[in-house]
């Protein structure tokens, strides 16, 4: 079974209000008001002087703490932004060098947008399962640093902020067990933000149904039910997105959305970063399922059930 030996996140120290960031992005007062009142964003971390490597390394170092670099066989970089103008081709090699992982099999996984972190975990874990060395580890690093205004402000509904995450993966290790992973891609929506209005409408109509199906598949594979899940841990685009995607009020009440006003949207890193917040705030109960869940533009739905114990930071009430 794939296990998550460490899950960590990193946010730069600099905090900016949504008003200040909106001004930097050239938004109108009305647009800024929408982000605060309607989309639920108060502030975020944003440090223009820090590149993606400088942001990925701290989370990765924390995830690697206590692990010999020699044990890490694979380094997987999951990122949402995939255009040629967003990422230097040397990024992963530099991350590997900074972490002492030049020996590792290093590659990136992308084109699932905010859902990509779960695929990365599954791919990393599956590589380890096939290699059958219980001491081997894989490191998944997750993050983006949008370089264009178009990528920093998504369709006037999301303000992308700085934040990264990392997870150390094992096979049958003592870490948090991954009980299931379900994913489905509706590639008829692959035009993403450049879709026609009709396609946008069709995608919005499909989202609740397909998300529910994938979530059901994940709990079924994990041997539990949606009622058993203590937290659903999603990405943090804004508050409105999940109101539309999860019409069931009771279900949505268990979606962890508290980081939206604090950190805004950190793209692919959100899911793992939000999990870390729940753990650090001691809001995870031991031995109860937690579902990592995401919808990535393009359109990929993913759900992963994990069950943290007290040894993983869950706290009995």
């Amino acid at each position: 079974m794939i296990t998550l030996e460490a899950i960590e996140s990193h946010f730069p120290a600099r905090t900016v209000s949504v008003e200040d960031r909106a001004a930097e992005l050239g938004l109108t007062a009305e647009q800024t008001h929408m982000f605060r009142r309607h989309f639920g964003i108060d502030r975020m971390r944003y440090e223009p002087s820090l590149g993606i490597v400088e942001q990925l390394v701290p989370a990765a170092e924390r995830a690697l703490a206590g692990t010999s670099p020699a044990a890490v066989r694979h380094l997987v970089f999951a990122h949402a932004l995939h255009g040629a103008d967003q990422l230097s081709p040397d990024t992963l090699r530099e991350v590997a060098r900074r972490l002492g992982l030049e020996h590792a099999n290093a590659f990136a996984v992308t084109q699932q947008n905010c859902a990509v972190s779960m695929s990365a975990l599954d791919i990393a874990g599956t590589l380890l399962q096939a290699e059958e060395d219980p001491s081997a580890r894989a490191l998944v690093v997750v993050g983006d640093k949008p370089l264009t205004q178009e990528a920093q402000l998504i369709m006037n509904t999301c303000v992308v902020a700085d934040g990264t995450a990392a997870a150390l993966v094992a096979n049958d290790g003592p870490g948090v067990p991954v009980r299931s992973f379900a994913t489905r891609t509706l590639g008829q929506f692959s035009d993403g933000v450049l879709s026609t209005p009709e396609t946008f409408r069709a995608a919005a109509e499909a989202r609740p149904r397909v998300l529910a199906e994938v979530m059901e598949e994940a709990v079924r594979s994990a041997g539990c039910t949606l009622d058993d899940v203590q937290w659903f841990v999603p990405p943090s685009p804004n508050l409105v997105f999940w109101q539309d995607a999860v019409p069931d009020d009771e279900l949505r009440a268990r979606f962890f959305l508290d980081n939206i006003p604090r950190y805004s949207h950190c793209l692919a890193a959100d899911v793992l970063a939000n999990y870390v917040t729940l753990r650090e705030e001691k809001r995870l109960e031991p031995d109860r399922p937690v579902m990592l869940v995401a919808i990535g533009v393009g359109m990929t739905f993913s759900a992963m059930v994990v069950v943290p114990g007290t040894e993983h930071g869950a706290v009995a009430r």
């Binding site: 081709p89 084109q111 450049l194």
Partner: protein, 268 residues
């Protein structure tokens, strides 16, 4: 569990001078137009779109598009940031999923828009693989998708200074080895015995050796016990190897057996 090569197709074009190179989605569509009819082939359950250089456009998720065009049932993603090693890593991932029983019909598409140093042509290769499920593919049992043919035995990464040694270990005790050499490799270091060498097109980089596989795989059946595709990522000094075995070949396993196995092979 070896993944049998069901089909492999290529597409190549030289962009007109001054014209924008084709985007990844265009290359994918041109590849799909070349995939042979294979009504018995299951829809891919694992799908990797591989590239060394990202598309200039960053909105369309071509991996999702390819997934949709091939049945929409796959765990699909794009795999990148490995240079020429990308396709080898994708096959390693596919092999891992197959070994754990969660991806027995993988599809790997490699695309290269061209117009860069070492890749003047725009090209793509699409590989469909499948487990030993006994299904016949195009051309019946003896066709390229039939029960025989080439199967992916292993993919490994080797420091470039140990490549010659790795090649030598692949030479079978009986039969011949075909080395398909791509960017960064040295044909002069190929083993002297029972080894033939094919050199991949110079106008491609990430797709190079895979293009040769698409062009000539059918002609290799029955002639080579082992086919090894190799390319070197000069930025990291890593040699990437994909080893294919001929399922029709009844030769001995490659050199490197135990002494007892060698003795038995010689004397029966």
């Amino acid at each position: 569990m070896s993944l049998r090569l069901r089909s492999v197709v290529e597409h190549v074009e030289t962009p007109a001078a001054g014209a924008a190179p084709p985007q990844h989605t265009e290359l994918v569509e041109r590849l799909l137009a070349r995939v042979p009819e294979d009504p018995d082939a299951p829809a891919p359950d694992l799908m990797a779109l591989v590239y060394a250089v990202a598309d200039p456009q960053g909105h369309k998720t071509t991996a999702s598009h390819l997934n949709h065009r091939t049945g929409g049932a796959a765990h699909g993603f794009a795999l990148t940031d490995q240079g020429v090693g990308g396709p080898f890593i994708a096959l390693r991932v596919a092999g891992a999923y197959a070994r754990t029983g969660r991806g027995t019909a993988p599809l790997v598409a490699v695309v290269e828009s061209g117009g860069t140093a070492g890749a003047s042509a725009a090209s793509g290769v699409l590989l469909r693989l499948g487990g030993p499920d006994g299904l016949d593919g195009p051309g019946g049992p003896d066709g390229p998708g039939g029960r025989g043919g080439l199967a992916l035995a292993d993919t490994v990464a080797v420091p470039v200074d140990r490549l010659a040694e790795a090649w030598a270990e692949l030479v079978p005790a009986k039969g011949r080895l075909l080395l398909v050499l791509g960017p960064g490799t040295d044909p002069g270091a190929a083993p002297a015995e029972r080894t033939d060498v094919r050199t991949a097109p110079a106008d491609s980089s990430c797709t190079a050796v895979w293009r040769l596989l698409a062009q000539e795989a059918e002609s290799w059946r029955g002639r080579y016990a082992t086919v090894a595709l190799c390319a070197v990522d000069t930025a990291t000094g890593t040699g990437h190897l994909a080893v294919l075995r001929d399922l029709d070949d009844e030769s001995e396993p490659p050199a490197g057996n135990t002494e007892e196995e060698e003795e038995e092979a010689r004397h029966g």
